[in-house]
């Protein structure tokens, strides 16, 4: 069993003396520090959250996405043709992101997250995941702009994000993960989604993952499990129906098992986590599990995120003891 995270990690530490990204951004916005000084604070916070994940016992980490305002604009700002519009709600969460608009036909103009990934790899004793907002979700969370239909927007994003995936692999990503929560809101689009996943992973030899969250995968599960990727991530907190659906989980794939609620501070007990692992292990053997929180941890205060990861690791250990 591998312990991992879905991606984001809370940016603000409550600890005295910890570097404050919040203060640094305000100072930068007020013109009191340079962009280089702001980058140094981002570096410090990134090192800090990498260490927190490692200290919690997480095997496969991310950079915590400290430098991302949100998962959409981080990529949209790096793709030629996008402009960024006003705030809009992110799914059913009480958080907001800025709405990307493709004003002109989208074009690749360079790698986006490679510098951040290289930084994380250089500062982590553990392997690092590269996380990309997948083409379907990025299109769905953008306006249509100059595109006449969703398909052409998705299919223009595919080669751009495929180059990004190849660049992350080159930079040392252990796993290249595509976050695709939007497909669960629009299951009728599965054919387009499958075509996009196939295209975006083409030529990637690192292990690949597609992560879904915020709902269950009923209605699309068997087709989802056949996608040409190595790891499929499911949210078992928002989607308890997933326990039944993974009875069809194919033997050649790994399951991203999202069991700790990353949207509520209520701390699961070690027994709850261990028994959830026991339950899913009846159909997916433990050596094929990536155990992680239900979604990114940025919805929680830092202390709670830390406690959740520590608990997740304890739960995994307990489950291993029970088996051995």
């Amino acid at each position: 069993m591998i312990t991992t995270v879905v991606g984001s990690y809370p940016k603000l530490s409550p600890d005295a003396g910890a570097p404050s990204l919040r203060a640094a951004i305000s100072r930068h916005d007020a013109g009191r520090i340079t962009v280089e000084e702001l980058r140094r604070v981002e570096d410090d916070v990134t090192r800090e959250v990498i260490q927190e994940q490692i200290d919690a016992g997480i095997d496969l980490i991310t950079d915590g996405q400290i430098r991302r305002d949100d998962g959409q604009t981080y990529f949209a700002r790096g793709i030629k043709g996008f402009t960024i519009n006003g705030l809009i709600r992110y799914f059913d969460t009480n958080t907001y992101y800025r709405h990307p608009i493709p004003e002109r036909r989208l074009e690749w103009q360079g790698a986006i997250g490679v510098g951040d990934l290289e930084f994380a790899v250089a500062h982590s004793a553990r392997p690092v995941k590269g996380v990309i907002t997948g083409p379907y979700t990025l299109a769905r969370l953008s306006q249509m702009g100059c595109y006449r239909d969703l398909r052409s927007l998705v299919m223009d994003l595919v080669p751009i994000l495929n180059r990004e995936a190849l660049a992350l692999q080159q930079a040392g990503a252990e796993v290249v993960q595509f976050d695709e929560p939007a497909i669960l809101q629009h299951k009728d689009d599965f054919d387009l989604f499958a075509e996009a996943v196939e295209g975006v992973t083409r030529g990637v030899t690192a292990r690949t993952a597609v992560y879904t969250y915020f709902r269950d995968v009923s209605g699309i599960h068997s087709r989802l499990f056949q996608l040409p990727v190595d790891i499929i991530g499911l949210d078992f907190v928002a989607g308890p129906a997933n326990y039944d659906l993974v009875r069809d989980f194919p033997p050649d794939k790994m399951l991203g098992f999202g069991i700790v609620d990353a949207r509520n501070t209520c701390l699961e007990t070690v027994e709850e986590i261990a028994s959830a692992i026991g339950r899913v292990s009846r159909v997916v053997s433990p050596d094929r599990l990536h155990v992680n929180p239900s979604c990114g941890l940025d919805f929680l205060p830092r202390k709670s995120a830390r406690a959740k990861l520590a608990r997740l690791v304890d739960g995994v250990r307990r489950a291993q003891e029970v088996r051995s």
Partner: protein, 324 residues
């Protein structure tokens, strides 16, 4: 002559500098709660006077003594604590209420403030409450086994508050539910909770909703157990009025005619145009006029300018159409 087109506001107004400064100092113990209350009263009186001078019909107290619309209730009720900082978007953070025990009031929460505001004016002042669904959705839950259990307990507390306001003489009671359309699958449960709040209430009840895919849930919105729905219509170019045209709608509508997210003030002509669009779908008796949402994010000058244009536009439309 027909009557109608009464003017009102959604709830919050910007706090004057002396209130904002004092709030920060209360947190540091440099200003006593009593002194703080005096400043908040002064600011409330200021806004009541502004609204009277502008000639608005139904006034609000402006919420000088409230921070966040959910946190305000949680801070004053039993059973809640406050979380560490969580991110809303970009560099914006807030503290979220956390239910840690049975939640509810030990004494009336808003009653004294309503009484104070109403003592300053002969015009009706609305009682302003936050709805149960929004309180639950914007809080962490570490106590209740289900969302529904949490929701129904909150609904009972909001109901008690509404009853106190009605008994004290509040003719209008608004229960804000900005989150209510977040999850179509929970609308039925949210409506049941709102029914608990308004059951047997002797007052004209209003609910304000914003941010959402209203088209998907409009029949449910139109059936909410309140007398009037308050919608932000200006910022969607009055497209929401089409929904009223397309569905059976038996309620009154409080129609937003100025966009609260923009600094620029609309012209009287623009607002008149909006009001005329409203009158195409509803009679003046059933149509109330207000800004799209609370004005607390605008400056005082911007807020007053927007309200002045709104009142002037209503006056001109009334004259043109012979409405009293």
């Amino acid at each position: 002559m027909t009557r109608g087109l009464l003017t009102t506001a959604v709830g919050s107004y910007p706090k004057p500098e002396y209130v904002l400064r004092a709030r920060a100092r209360v947190a540091r113990g440099e200003v006593s709660p009593k002194e703080m209350e005096e400043l908040e009263k002064r600011a409330t009186a200021h806004w009541i006077r502004i609204q009277e001078e502008l000639g608005m019909d139904i006034l609000v107290d402006g919420e000088m003594y409230r921070g966040d619309m959910v946190a305000y209730f949680a801070e004053n009720w039993e059973g809640f604590t406050t979380s560490g900082l969580v991110r809303s978007y970009g560099n914006r953070y807030y503290r979220k209420p956390v239910a840690v025990g049975p939640v509810g009031r030990s004494r009336p929460t808003t009653l004294e403030w309503w009484r104070y505001a109403q003592s300053l004016t002969p015009r009706p002042v609305k009682g302003m409450l936050t709805g149960p669904y929004t309180i639950v959705d914007w809080s962490f839950n570490e106590y209740y086994p289900t969302r529904e259990a949490f929701l129904m307990e909150v609904a009972r507390a909001v109901h008690d508050e509404a009853v106190d306001l009605a008994k004290a003489g509040a003719e209008y009671i608004q229960i804000d539910e900005p989150a209510i359309s977040t999850r179509p699958e929970e609308m039925e449960m949210a409506a049941r909770a709102l029914a608990v709040v308004t059951r047997g209430l002797e007052a004209f009840t209003i609910t304000h909703v914003c941010y959402g895919d209203f088209a998907a849930v409009f029949p449910q919105l139109a059936a909410l157990p309140v007398d009037m729905l308050d919608l932000e219509t200006a910022n969607s170019n009055y497209n929401l009025l089409d929904l009223i045209r397309q569905h059976s709608f038996g309620k009154c509508l409080s129609m937003g005619v100025v966009d609260v997210h923009h600094h620029e003030t609309e012209s009287v002509e623009q607002v008149k145009e909006g009001i005329r669009k409203g009158l195409e779908v509803l009679s003046p008796e059933r149509l109330y006029i207000d800004p799209d949402c609370g004005l607390k994010t605008r400056t005082e000058e911007e807020s007053v300018a927007k309200l002045r244009v709104m009142v002037a536009a209503v006056r001109e439309v009334k004259e043109e159409l012979g409405i009293e």
